[in-house]
């Protein structure tokens, strides 16, 4: 064994996905131990929540997992609705499902692109992913006026109905994206270098995954058939027919492939939801000032995993305590275990396959 040395990877490093700082102890190119240091993006969102009314906090949830703002909005609004027993118009429920699934698609697209980037496929898959993502971002821009922080879902409904013609745009996108998925498979999934780099790297077994409370695509890639949308359906997910794709080995390639499969399933859900969407007004007539008491824990299936909101209310205008259980936080927790003994190139590959967003890890 040679002389050990420490490499400080991050907070500014091309592949740490934001401001993550990893302290790697290495023997040559082999990573012996990895120590993540968090907090470079800490904004204390939970304290902010205690100082905002329920409605005012919605824009802040956009800043958690900024690649999936819709899903965060949805998770928070569902938690408040569960706490205060607010009914949601049926059209709003369907639109929420469509928005959440579209957001899942584009979040996974970014994950695919950045993972390929981490494996050294210079920018091209990333740009293809962003090119496809742009179509949905433009649509969201038209629907709610934001391209990244959507702030679209309100407690008890939505901020407004979708403009005319949205249905056609989504249908066109589904057709386009299905064609594109084939291209991704040709460009990446079955490429010999890609396979060699990501197969059997960073294997996460079922027991370890559950013990680390890993959720979302990472858990499913380890072979656990688990999806909150199926197990504890919220909104109208129980009305749709979709599969839960699972991996077998739980390695980086499985996590990547699973995202492609999930995009396909999301497209299926969107297709069904568009067909069944009822008429009506999705904007609820509820007041914007709420008073609630009690406590609730609501978890939803975010693109990265299970997003949980633990709300405690004391009858005031503002939540007494709002704990955000973010999926990336728990998923990143498994990283030190996964990269132990790997090459530094593989450590980067594993980190990329975790698909983390620092916005919701540091909060």
């Amino acid at each position: 064994m040679g002389e050990l040395f420490t490499v400080n990877m991050g907070p500014q490093h091309p592949s740490t996905h934001g401001v993550l700082y990893l302290e790697l102890v290495m023997d040559g190119e082999i990573v012996l131990s990895c120590k993540p240091h968090l907090g470079y993006l800490h904004r204390s969102i939970e304290k902010i929540a205690e100082n905002r009314t329920y409605t005012q906090f919605i824009p802040f949830t956009d800043r958690l997992d900024y690649l999936a703002s819709m899903n965060n909005n949805l998770g928070y609004c569902l938690a408040v609705e569960k706490l205060l027993n607010i009914a949601v118009p049926p059209r709003a429920q369907y639109l929420r499902v469509i928005m959440a699934e579209l957001n899942r698609v584009i979040s996974h697209l970014v994950a695919i692109g950045t993972f390929a980037q981490d494996l050294g496929a210079y920018a091209t898959p990333l740009f293809y992913a962003f090119r496809d993502r742009e179509k949905i971002v433009e649509l969201f821009d038209e629907i709610c006026g934001g391209r990244l922080t959507y702030n679209y879902i309100r407690i008890g409904g939505l901020s407004g109905d979708v403009p005319a013609g949205t249905e056609q745009v989504i249908k066109d996108f589904i057709k386009y994206e299905r064609k594109q998925l084939v291209e991704y498979n040709e460009l990446l999934t079955y490429n010999v270098i890609f396979l060699a780099r990501s197969k059997k790297i960073g294997i996460l077994t079922q027991e370890t995954a559950i013990n680390y409370s890993v959720t979302g695509p990472m858990l499913r890639a380890s072979g656990v058939k688990w999806d909150i949308r199926k197990e504890e359906p919220y909104l109208v997910y129980d009305k749709f027919d979709f599969d839960i794709p699972t991996g077998t080995a739980g390695d980086a390639w499985d996590r990547f492939k699973l995202k492609l499969d999930e995009i396909e399933q999301s497209l299926r859900i969107i297709e069904q939801a568009i067909g069944a969407i009822p008429e009506g007004n999705p904007v609820s007539k509820v007041n914007r000032v709420f008073r609630g008491s009690g406590e609730t824990y609501m978890r939803t299936e975010n693109p990265k995993g299970e997003l949980g909101f633990y709300l405690v209310a004391d009858g005031g205008l503002m939540p007494y305590r709002c704990k955000i259980r973010s999926p990336s936080f728990s998923n990143l927790g498994a990283l030190p275990e996964l990269v132990k003994g790997l090459n530094i190139s593989d450590a980067v590959c594993v980190l990329g396959s975790l698909d983390i967003v620092m916005g919701e890890i540091d909060r």
């Binding site: 040395f5 490499v7 490093h13 091309p14 592949s15 190119e29 390929a116 980037q117 981490d118 494996l119 050294g120 496929a121 210079y122 920018a123 091209t124 740009f127 293809y128 090119r131 460009l187 990446l188 490429n191 270098i193 890609f194 060699a196 780099r197 090459n343 530094i344 190139s345 593989d346 980067v348 990329g352």
Partner: protein, 314 residues
Amino acid sequence: MMTMVLKGLSALGFIAVSAMFLIWLERKVSAWIQNRLGPMMTGFQGTLQPIADTIKLLLKEDIVPKGVDFLSWWLAPFFVTVPVVMAFLVIPFSSKWIVLDLNVGVLYICSVTSLCVLGIFMAGWGSNNKYSLLGGMRSAAQIISYEVPLLLSVLLVVMQAGTLSMQGIIHAQAHGWFILKPQLALAFLIYFISATAEVNRVPFDIPEAESELVAGYHTEYSGMKFAMFFVAEYTNMFIISAIAATLFLGGWQGPWLPGVVWFLIKAYGLIFVLMWMRWTLPRVRMDQMMSFAWKVLTPIALLNLLVGGWFMLK
């Protein structure tokens, strides 16, 4: 003597212009592949972009990081650039345009271009940066191991042509390019792959490995020193393509057009393939790359040499 100096100077001028053109081409090719526009603001389609870049790099402060091994850190860019310039001595642009037609041209060019590794390793060692050190180490291992299949494949060409002189090899292809012969086509493939590794291009860009090692061996360089690495990288690319064009694609030979045009078309065509590969493929891992060199390329090259030699004897 005077003509030699003039020829040398024009080779230097060509290096500068070619590197600039290649930088522009790389940006444009990447943009086309990625459905982007690429540089547009400077000149028509951003053609003047490399000049703007050069001015920027010239005006940049030359930062000397704390704790560098000054001599090796300072000398490294020169050690990378000088062999590249030296290699131009024997590149035959046309039947007349060659600085010096050495009778050991192929041997000379192969030995000179492999000197680059020294500069890269010095840069990696001297920078006093862990990423640079890892990059330099990787580079040394990579370039030395890929030298073997590269030379084995060149050897077959030399056997076929019966000479080491670059012009002589081109003349030997007067009745059909070497790439059209099956055993030499395989040699071309082996040459091309190992040459890609030799100049650290994707999928073998392990010494730079942006997503792992930030920028590898030139992490700590800025300003003109960085520009020298940059120029050396792109000129190296031109050199390996030029050698491939000379050894396998008939060099400057071709109908209708003047020889130099044919030569440049062939060389830049191969460079385009290199760029195309760069913007498509992921990077291989260090150990995979080494095992590919020793377990796949070298045995095939050896076998190819044997079979090719047997055919020639018959």
